[in-house]
Amino acid sequence: MTCPEPDPMAILAAEHRAARAPTGVEWAVQAEFDAVRRLRRRGRAAAGAAIAAMLVAGAFLARERPTRSPVAVKTVAPQPPGLGKAAAPVMKPPPRKRSLVRHENLPRQSAGEPFVAIPYTVPLAPEERATMVRITLSPAAIAAVGFPLPAIDPGNDTLADVLVGEDGRAHAIRIVADSNFR
């Protein structure tokens, strides 16, 4: 026996297609749309302000930065440690000072002497700015970079001016004339 009746799948499909989402969903979605749009606008404004601030700061720094005269650097070939020309007299070591970094306002006893390029370092570019710092060096540190060393007391530290490039690396050095090293 068969019952004449419409296809249940068709009835179910018709009911299915009649279903609608609550209107609250549309409001929630539109609210989210507005919130995201506001956030994007704020993000764009913040990015623009940041770029403008960076440009202003860059222009200000470029105007304020003093120009420095190029420093003469004499290049010497590296020599192995301990092959110095002349042996200096052994002097009594002064009290040891460690890690002293002094700036350029110190008296420059050796201002006339040229800097000696540190071997195996990239030389300063013509337009590169360099900072001169005065430090206390032990003879062992000087020997480690291949400079000629007189035969001195290894505990006898010396003052040296070091040219530091923009990359933070030392490029050249000169020994202060009146230090104990000379």
């Binding site: 026996m1 009746e5 249940p8 799948m9 179910l12 297609r17 279903a19 989402a21 979605v29 749309f33």
Partner: protein, 174 residues
């Protein structure tokens, strides 16, 4: 108007929502069996679209298939979190006046569809109830057209068996 402009313009987006939300809602309703869950999933899908407008590429397919795919992932995630399938609820059924036999047949079919495993149920919902093509269903569920055909075939076999047993109980062909 390009997709990028449409998704960023409020009026265009509202029109897009009104065009495409029914299919997403109906799919979620048929899969979850709960109007509240279906509304949540529909909202999640469009909020996700607002936040990820570049995820849809109009060159790769229809937006409705894409949105159904997103809804499907939200539903799967929800099921993974809940670890249970929500059966069809009385509140989701739009009971209409019709003869008892017809009522019994439709309700039996609804119950049989709800009892299908999700991967079979989704193809039945999209193809038989929503009226999408094989290609659109394949794009929505992320598989090949042949897979859709085979899943649909198995799903119909399962439904036929279910309805046959129901028919025997009722003593009337469905």
């Amino acid at each position: 108007m390009t997709w990028s402009e449409t998704i960023r313009d409020r009026e265009s987006f509202t029109a897009l929502y009104r065009t495409h939300h029914p299919v997403v809602f109906r799919f979620a309703l048929s899969m979850a069996g709960d109007r509240a869950v279906a509304a949540d999933v529909t909202q999640d899908v469009f909020v996700w679209l607002i936040r990820h407008p570049d995820s849809f590429d109009p060159a790769r397919g229809e937006l409705s298939s894409f949105l159904i795919g997103v809804a499907r992932k939200f539903l799967l995630r929800r099921w993974q979190n809940d670890r249970r399938l929500v059966p069809l609820d009385e509140s989701t059924r739009q009971v209409t006046e019709r003869p008892d036999d017809e009522q019994n047949g439709v309700e039996a079919l609804r119950a049989a569809i709800a009892a299908l495993p999700p991967r079979y149920r989704e193809v039945v919902v999209l193809f038989d109830l929503e009226g999408l093509t094989y290609e659109e269903v394949a794009a929505a569920v992320g598989c090949a057209t042949g897979t859709v055909r085979s899943r649909l075939h198995r799903a119909r076999q399962f439904l036929a068996r279910k309805l046959e047993s129901k028919k025997e109980n009722l003593g009337c062909a469905v």
